[in-house]
Subunit: 124 residues, 2 copies
DNA sequence: TGCATATATGAACAACTGTTCATATATTCA
DNA sequence: TGAATATATGAACAGTTGTTCATATATGCA
């Protein structure tokens, strides 16, 4: 067994090809909670309905039924989606009588969508 | 039935609260294929393992086993993840003998990760 | 108070996801 | 050629997800 051989847990035995490179990248890695949180944010945005909702809200504050009309999906589906977005603090809402007006909770989200779409538009 | 009442498909009957606003947002919406593609990209990034891989590759070109070591996951899991990333054209690879060296296929991805982490770091 | 409207939510279900295990392919070297 | 190494992949499984349906809550109005 050479110096460059190690085991990771007891999952399997893996050789290092370039241990120095691995060390330097390891030092640059983000802490686990940040990775987890970012993965959750991306997961939330990884759904066409929620992308449409978030993108629409980046243009205008909208109530639940106008969102449902805009997207052509049921009120229930929109409400469930909004709850998911709310739980991840991507959207916020204010209540006016019976009506709930939703808007983006974070300017970063609009930027993420913008950057994402510009990536897609080049790829497509 | 007033002018502001319509049905969407035959799913349910929904009132418009502000039809003009809905119309203007509808005009600004992205085409369905772009939304679908972006949702798929975000979905791919909505997994901690793949985020770690993509982030690591934004720092250095790495082979499969060094990625496995870096993340402490099995070679098989890394290989499956890389295939997913490859299919969405997020990473590319070159082969050198037995070794496959992976790197990001698109500079946008590094930007998306950077922007995403900066969002998370403010939230946290 | 009673009815209509706007939204929220719980249960249930099919569809999908990420990992593991076993195995296949492909390359290098002796 | 045969053994060792690096990676890829198929099957299978538990866990998760998004929608629908039915119903609950809450507000406004007559």
């Amino acid at each position: 067994m050479t110096k460059a051989t190690e085991t990771v847990g007891d999952a399997c035995e893996i050789q290092f090809v370039d241990e120095e490179k691995v060390k330097s990248v390891r030092a640059a890695m983000k802490p686990a909670p940040a990775v987890t949180a970012l993965a959750e944010t991306f997961k939330i945005l990884g759904d066409p309905t929620r992308i449409k909702i978030a993108f629409a809200l980046s243009k205008e504050e909208l109530c639940v039924c106008d969102i449902a009309n805009l997207l052509g999906v049921s009120q229930s589906a929109v409400s469930h989606s909004l709850r998911t977005l709310r739980q991840m603090k991507l959207v916020k809402f204010r209540k006016e009588g019976k009506t709930a007006y939703y808007s983006l909770d974070d300017a970063h989200i609009a930027n993420l969508l913008e950057l994402g779409f510009s990536h897609i538009e080049e790829t497509l």
